[in-house]
């Protein structure tokens, strides 16, 4: 699968590495080339300095032939806009978007963008972890 990732932060860099190891063709974009230090040393994909809301930068990253586009920058709006460009201008079949704000996630989810809100997911996960019964072994150790 050909995947374009926008934003080489902790999540973007790690995801790029994971997909690359499995043999997918990955191109990752970031505004700052210093961010590419987060890519694993054996990363075999393409790392490009560029703005993912700019059509020319996306074309350079191979968006026209991509099977998937994933937006993982710190800015919700930037992610949403880039995903809409990928979906509606370049007709990328699969578009995933990180949106910290749950309300924005809801709105753009209803407008056809596949969105994740780490805020909602982590809050839920942490709550479940906290309220879960501790494993028997741990109880005895106390």
């Amino acid at each position: 699968m050909k995947v374009v990732i926008m934003g080489c932060g902790r999540v973007g860099g790690r995801l790029a590495g994971l997909l690359d190891i499995e043999g997918h063709k990955v191109a990752i974009l970031d505004l700052d080339d210093y961010s590419f230090r987060r890519l694993p040393p054996e990363f075999g994909g393409t790392a490009l300095v560029g703005n993912g809301t700019d059509e020319d930068a996306l074309k350079k990253a191979g968006i026209e032939k991509a099977d998937a586009f994933i937006a993982l920058t710190q800015g919700d709006n930037r992610n949403i806009m880039a995903c809409q460009i990928a979906k509606h201008i370049f007709n990328v079949p699969r578009v995933l978007c990180r949106t910290y704000d749950p309300l924005r996630r809801e709105l753009f989810g209803s407008l056809g963008i596949e969105t994740f809100s780490p805020t909602t997911i982590f809050a839920q996960m942490i709550k479940e972890q906290l309220l879960k019964e501790k494993p028997e072994a741990e109880k005895k150790a106390k």
Partner: protein, 220 residues
């Protein structure tokens, strides 16, 4: 009319001032505290500090009863998202956005923003028109119908001088609406109007056919 403006920079501030003079009710949402205070000092309490992309802020601002929503921040992504929220969450009838990167005009239109204004394109066009050899001057875009009003000047040695309008290979759907000739009173051309050198012709065209219109009127 109740109008909400997102972004209290230069554009937002002067727009608010102009709309207040016209007697509209309005609210400016601005992220920066100092800028908010400045606008309230100058224009009265029409500016509230807040993020125009936050649903809660928009709700408090009364987006549900706004007649018009204008996003003029310096960031295209913020303008796009706040206009989409206004349109789809609060059903605001008319949304207008400033587009900073001219490449983004397409995505704004595709996403249903009613009017997308690219300040960069406007400045470029204005400067281009000052170049004497520029063939077509854009006067007005009618975005909803995909039409534009342009002015074409007939050059002194054009091959079309002396021809009548019906002899010109005008692209279909194009209309010549006015001829401005020297000191004469401008007149509406008909199919027998004969072109003269230095005529300025105001025409209605489309972005796709404007080049063909230019060639038809100015010759090759």
């Amino acid at each position: 009319m109740y109008i909400i403006i997102i972004g209290g920079g230069q554009v937002g501030y002067f727009l608010a001032k102009a709309l207040l003079d016209e007697g509209h009710e309005l609210l400016v949402l601005e992220k920066d505290a100092a800028r908010t205070a400045f606008i309230c000092n100058e224009l009265g309490s029409v500016c509230v500090r807040g993020d125009g992309c936050e649903m809660a802020t928009l709700e408090e601002a009364g987006a549900g009863r706004a007649d018009m929503f204008v996003a003029v921040t310096g960031e295209d992504e913020d303008n796009l998202v706040s206009c989409q929220a206004a349109k789809h969450k609060f059903n605001v009838r008319r949304t207008v956005a400033r587009v900073n990167n001219p490449n983004n005009e397409t995505i704004f239109r595709k996403m249903g923003i009613d009017v997308a204004i690219s300040s960069t394109s406007i400045i470029l066009e204005n400067i281009e028109e000052e170049v004497p050899t520029h063939p077509i001057t854009h006067l007005l875009d009618i975005q909803e119908q995909g039409l534009e009003i342009v002015e074409v000047k007939i050059p002194p040695h054009s091959t079309t001088i002396g021809k009548t309008v019906k002899e010109l290979p005008l692209p279909t759907g194009n209309t010549l609406s006015l001829v401005i000739r020297g000191q004469q009173k401008p007149f509406v051309p008909d199919e027998d109007t004969v072109l003269e050198a230095e005529d300025q012709i105001v025409a209605i065209t489309t972005p796709e056919s404007e080049e063909a219109l230019g060639t038809a009127l100015r010759g090759s």
